[in-house]
């Protein structure tokens, strides 16, 4: 884990690739999270709603992106995590998680960093999830 003196604006963890996403990954996340919207596992339901197939649960890629960044700066140190969903992800998609420090500051007697995060869909290069995080740095 990087120390306070090692962190600067622009500091970044090594980007990481995940996937290809499978239907099993979607079902496993739905089972773990308790979100059972059939649009993510029931092919007939998804096609009936006008989609080519089931598509991923936004909170799955949000959770992957969260785990990517807590591994870098510490699971107990996160204080804020926010995501906006952009492109949908589909079975077969490969994603890349990345991020970097945008602000380093002291607040309330604690050292903190703010980060911008991105989960990119490799096939299109488009953003699937845009994220922000705040960590304390012990």
């Amino acid at each position: 884990m990087p120390t306070w003196t090692e962190l600067h604006e622009g500091s970044a963890p090594q980007p990481r690739e995940y996937g290809p996403l499978t239907r099993t990954d979607l079902v496993r996340y739905q089972g773990a999270s308790g979100d059972f919207n059939p649009i993510h596992h029931d092919e007939e339901f998804a096609q009936g709603a006008g989609f080519p197939s089931v598509y991923s649960v936004g909170m799955l890629q949000a959770g992957i992106l969260a785990g990517f960044v807590t591994e870098w700066l510490g699971a107990a140190n996160i204080r804020r995590y926010a995501v906006q969903f952009r492109e949908q992800l589909w079975p077969g998609d490969v994603i890349v998680c990345s991020g970097h420090v945008v602000r380093k500051y002291a607040e309330g007697g604690e050292h903190k960093v703010d980060l911008e995060l991105l989960c990119t869909r490799v096939e299109t290069g488009g953003a699937a999830v845009k994220g922000e995080a705040t960590f304390v740095v012990p």
Partner: protein
Amino acid sequence: MPDEAAEPGHPGYEMAVERGKIREFARATMSHNPEYLEDPIPVSPPTFLQTSAFWAPHDAPPANGSGGMDLARVLHGGQEFVFFGPPPRAGTTLRVSARLDKEYEKEGRRGGTMRFRETVTSFVDEHGRLVAESRATVIETGRAPTEDA
């Protein structure tokens, strides 16, 4: 720091943060972090509080505020978690209460009228401390949602 854990008439419900559930959730989100998987009293992952769905009463509306919306036309627009200290660890019991914060409509470019709902959920531990708040934004589109709705 806000302290209105349970608004009058909305007592909320209890949620136990459990080691096995943290492990299941960490693996489902493709994490190999030993802080989640090997610590005997692990801290919960940043998005773990979504699992409060399992603790809500059977007749409670969905925690993300999508109650009454057509699931085929619902988009999850965004989600935020704020922690007022480390995320809750296994062994913590939380009291969960949700309130509708905002409801509004926008005209989509091609999706017709889009209905937005923002729901804030607070998580208070057994000592009465507000440990986390989440904000969910869900959108019901005028037709089947697409990537640029």
